[in-house]
C-alpha cells in the first residue's frame, strides 16, 4: 500500500507501514479470539447443557440448581457473555472441577511440555527435510526422487497415533530399547519427537523438493555453473537460499499445527503430560472449565505465532508488498 506512494520508501515510511501492518494483524488476532469466544459460548451455553455435561446422571434437581448458581448459569445469557469476556481478558476461567484449583494454573504447568515437544518435532522435521528435498530435486523423475515422493506420500497416509503405537510395540515392547511413556529421561523424548515430526516432515520434503526444482531451473543457476562455482556452493548456497523462503513460513504453520492439533494425539499415545493429554483427561472427567481454559490458551498462542510469522516473513522477503 505504502510502496505505491513513493518509488522507494524512506526508512520512516517503512517503519510506519510496518507499524500499521502490525496493528492490522493484531486486530485480526482480536477478531479470531472473539470468534472462538462466540463459538465456544454458543456451543456450551445454547446448544449443549454444561450442567448435564459436568454433573453425574443421578444428580437431583436441587443439586443441578445449586451447581447452576455456583457457575452463574442462572443469570441472563447476555450477562453471562459479558462475564465470560471479562474472565477472558484477565485469563481467569475459574477453578478446575477435577483438580479444585485455578484452571490457568494447570495450563501454565502443562504448556512448557507441549511447547517442548512441538518445537523438537518440527525442528527435527525441518532439519531432515532440507537434505532429503535437495537430493530428490537434483534429478527430478530419478530413482531417489521417486522414492522420496513415495515415502512422503506414505508418511502423509499413516495415521500419527498408529505410527506412535507401532514405535512403542517395536522399540519399547519387542526390543526394549526405549521407555514406552512418561517424561523422566531424555530417552523418553525420542519416540514422541519422531511421531510428532513425521507428517510435517512429509509435507516439508515435498515443498523443499518442488521449490528447489524451480530454483535449479533458473538462469542464475546456469550462470553460477558456467562461471565454474563448485556444485555444493551453487546448490547449497545460491539455490537453497532462495528456495528456503517458503520452507521457513511453512515451518511456522507446522508449528501451529503441532501445538493446536498433533499434540493432542501424540501426547495421548505416549502419556506425555502436556496440554493435549490434559484436554483429553478434562473431557473424560467432565471438566468443561479446564477444557475451555486450554482451548483459549491454545487459540491465543496460535494467533500470536501467526502474527510473529507474518512479520518475520515480511522482514526476510522485502519483495512482498505490505497490505
Amino acid at each position: 500500500m505504502v510502496s505505491r506512494q513513493a518509488d522507494r520508501p524512506t526508512g520512516n515510511q517503512l517503519i510506519d507501514s510496518m507499524g500499521r501492518y502490525f496493528l492490522k494483524r493484531l486486530w485480526h488476532g482480536v477478531v479470531v479470539i472473539l470468534g472462538v469466544t462466540v463459538l465456544v459460548f454458543v456451543v456450551t451455553r445454547l446448544v449443549g447443557d454444561p450442567v448435564k455435561f459436568m454433573l453425574p446422571l443421578e444428580a437431583t434437581a436441587e443439586q443441578r440448581a445449586e451447581f447452576e448458581k455456583q457457575l452463574g448459569l442462572d443469570r441472563p445469557i447476555g450477562v453471562q457473555f459479558i462475564d465470560f469476556l471479562d474472565g477472558l481478558t484477565r485469563l481467569d476461567f475459574g477453578d478446575s472441577l477435577w483438580q479444585r484449583r485455578p484452571a490457568m494454573q494447570i495450563v501454565f504447568e502443562k504448556l512448557p511440555l507441549t511447547l517442548e515437544l512441538a518445537v523438537l518435532g518440527i525442528g527435527l522435521a525441518f532439519l531432515l527435510s532440507i537434505p532429503l528435498g535437495i537430493i530428490a530435486a537434483l534429478r527430478p523423475g530419478g530413482a531417489s526422487d521417486r522414492s522420496t515422493v513415495f515415502l512422503s506420500l506414505l508418511g502423509l497416509s499413516v495415521p500419527q497415533f498408529w505410527l506412535g503405537l507401532l514405535l512403542i510395540v517395536v522399540f519399547a515392547v519387542q526390543l526394549g530399547w526405549l521407555p514406552t511413556s512418561g517424561i523422566d529421561t531424555p530417552a523418553h523424548l525420542i519416540m514422541p519427537t519422531i511421531t510428532m515430526a513425521l507428517p510435517a516432515l512429509a509435507r516439508l520434503v515435498m515443498i523443499v523438493r518442488s521449490s528447489m526444482i524451480d530454483e535449479l531451473n533458473q538462469q542464475y543457476v546456469k550462470t553460477c555453473f558456467a562461471k565454474g562455482l563448485a556444485f555444493y556452493r551453487v546448490v547449497g548456497v545460491h539455490a537453497l537460499r532462495n528456495a528456503s523462503l517458503p520452507v521457513v513460513t511453512l515451518c511456522g504453520w507446522e508449528l501451529i499445527r503441532a501445538i493446536a492439533g498433533y499434540s493432542v494425539v501424540v501426547e495421548t499415545v505416549f502419556a506425555w503430560p502436556g496440554l493435549g493429554l490434559t484436554a483429553i483427561q478434562a473431557i473424560e472427567r467432565d471438566d468443561l472449565i479446564l477444557l475451555q481454559a486450554i482451548v483459549f490458551t491454545v487459540a491465543i498462542l496460535v494467533v500470536l505465532i501467526n502474527i510473529l510469522l507474518d512479520i518475520t516473513y515480511k522482514v526476510i522477503d522485502p519483495r512482498l508488498k505490505l497490505t
Binding site: 472462538v36 497416509s157 499413516v158 503405537l165 512403542i168
Partner: protein
C-alpha cells in the same frame, strides 16, 4: 438439438478412453484407483464378504492370534479381540464408517464452501469482503480443540463427527473457488453470457462452475484423505464413533489396551487406514499431474526425449547390424 447431442457424445467417449489409457500408463495412479474401487466394493458388500458379524462375541475365543501364529486358526484369519470378535470382519465393516464420513463431509463442506466462494467471487464488494474475512478468521481457529469441545459438550456420534468436520473444513473450497471465479470472470465468454441476458445464477452455474471442475475434484480427493485420517483420530481419542459401532480408529484405541499381549489388534485396523489414505493420495497426485497444464507440458517433453533417445539408439543398431 438431438443431433448436436449425438455429435458431442463421440468425443466424450474418446476422452474417457484417453483418460483410461493415461491412467494405465501411470502405474501409481492406476493402483490407487484400483484400490479405491476395491475398498468401495468391500464397504458396499461388507455383510456378504465378512466371515463373521463384527459384533458377534465369543468369550471362550478371546485374543486369538492371526492364522500364522501358533494357536491361530483359519476360523479367524486375523485373530480375535478382547471380546472374541473377529478382527477381519471388523476391519471389513470399518471401511463403511470411514468412507461414509469422508464422502458426506466432502459433499457438505464442498457444497457450502463452493457456494460461498462463488458468491464472493462473482458478487465482489461487501459480500466478498465479509465472506473472506469470515474464512480468514475461521482458518486461524485451533480446529482440533474446537472439535473436541463441541464433541464433548454435544455428545459424540457419527452425525456430530460429520457436522464438526464439515464445519472445520469448508474454508479451503471457498478460497479456491473465489480465486478461480475471479480469474474466469473477465473472460469473453462470461461477458458474452452476461450480455445476452443470462441470469446471474445461470452465468455462475453454467458458464463459470464447469471451469472449476478439475481443480475442485483434485481438492475434494485430497480433503477426502484428510477427513478419513481426522475421523480415525477423533475415534481414537474417544470423541468420535462410539461402540458398539465399528470404526478403524476406535479399534486401534481398544487394541491399545492389549498392545503388549496382542499386537494384531492395533496393527490391522491401522494398516486399513494407511492403505485407504495412501490409495486416495496416489489418485490425488495423479489427478494433479494430468489436470495441471504445466505438468502436462513437462510430461510431454519427457516423452519426446525418451522417444528421440529410442530412435537414435535403434538407428545406431541398424547402422551397426549389417
Amino acid at each position: 438439438m438431438a443431433d448436436l447431442n449425438a455429435d458431442s457424445r463421440a468425443p466424450h467417449a474418446g476422452r474417457l478412453k484417453r483418460l483410461l489409457g493415461e491412467l494405465w500408463r501411470d502405474k501409481a495412479g492406476f493402483i490407487g484407483v484400483a484400490m479405491i474401487a476395491a475398498l468401495i466394493l468391500m464397504a458396499a458388500a461388507a455383510p456378504l464378504i465378512a466371515p463373521h458379524s463384527p459384533t458377534a462375541q465369543d468369550l471362550r475365543g478371546r485374543l486369538v492370534p492371526p492364522v500364522w501364529e501358533d494357536p491361530g486358526s483359519w476360523k479367524h484369519i486375523l485373530g480375535t479381540d478382547h471380546l472374541g470378535r473377529d478382527v477381519l470382519s471388523r476391519v471389513i465393516h470399518g471401511s463403511r464408517v470411514s468412507l461414509t464420513v469422508g464422502a458426506v463431509v466432502v459433499l457438505m463442506a464442498g457444497t457450502f464452501g463452493v457456494a460461498l466462494g462463488l458468491i464472493a467471487g462473482y458478487r465482489g464488494g461487501r459480500a466478498d469482503s465479509f465472506i473472506m474475512r469470515w474464512i480468514d478468521t475461521q482458518v486461524a481457529f485451533p480446529g482440533l480443540l474446537i472439535a473436541l469441545i463441541i464433541l464433548a459438550v454435544i455428545g459424540p456420534s457419527m452425525l456430530t463427527v460429520i457436522l464438526v468436520l464439515s464445519f472445520n473444513g469448508w474454508m479451503v473450497y471457498g478460497r479456491m473457488t473465489r480465486g478461480a471465479v475471479l480469474s474466469v470472470r473477465q473472460t469473453a465468454y462470461v461477458e458474452a453470457a452476461e450480455m445476452v441476458g443470462c441470469s446471474a445464477v445461470r452465468v455462475v452455474l453454467r458458464h463459470i462452475l464447469p471451469n472449476l471442475t478439475s481443480p475442485l475434484l483434485t481438492l475434494s480427493i485430497l480433503e477426502f484423505a484428510r477427513i478419513v485420517l481426522a475421523e480415525a483420530a477423533l475415534s481414537f481419542l474417544g470423541v468420535g464413533i462410539q461402540p458398539p459401532a465399528t470404526s478403524w480408529g476406535l479399534d486401534v484405541a481398544t487394541g491399545k489396551n492389549y498392545m503388549f499381549r496382542a499386537w494384531w489388534l492395533v496393527t490391522f485396523p491401522g494398516i486399513a487406514i494407511s492403505v485407504t489414505v495412501l490409495a486416495i493420495n496416489l489418485v490425488a497426485s495423479w489427478m494433479r499431474l494430468i489436470s495441471d497444464p504445466q505438468e502436462r507440458e513437462k510430461q510431454f517433453a519427457r516423452q519426446m526425449r525418451a522417444l528421440r533417445k529410442k530412435r537414435t539408439r535403434s538407428g545406431l543398431e541398424e547402422a551397426a547390424s549389417p
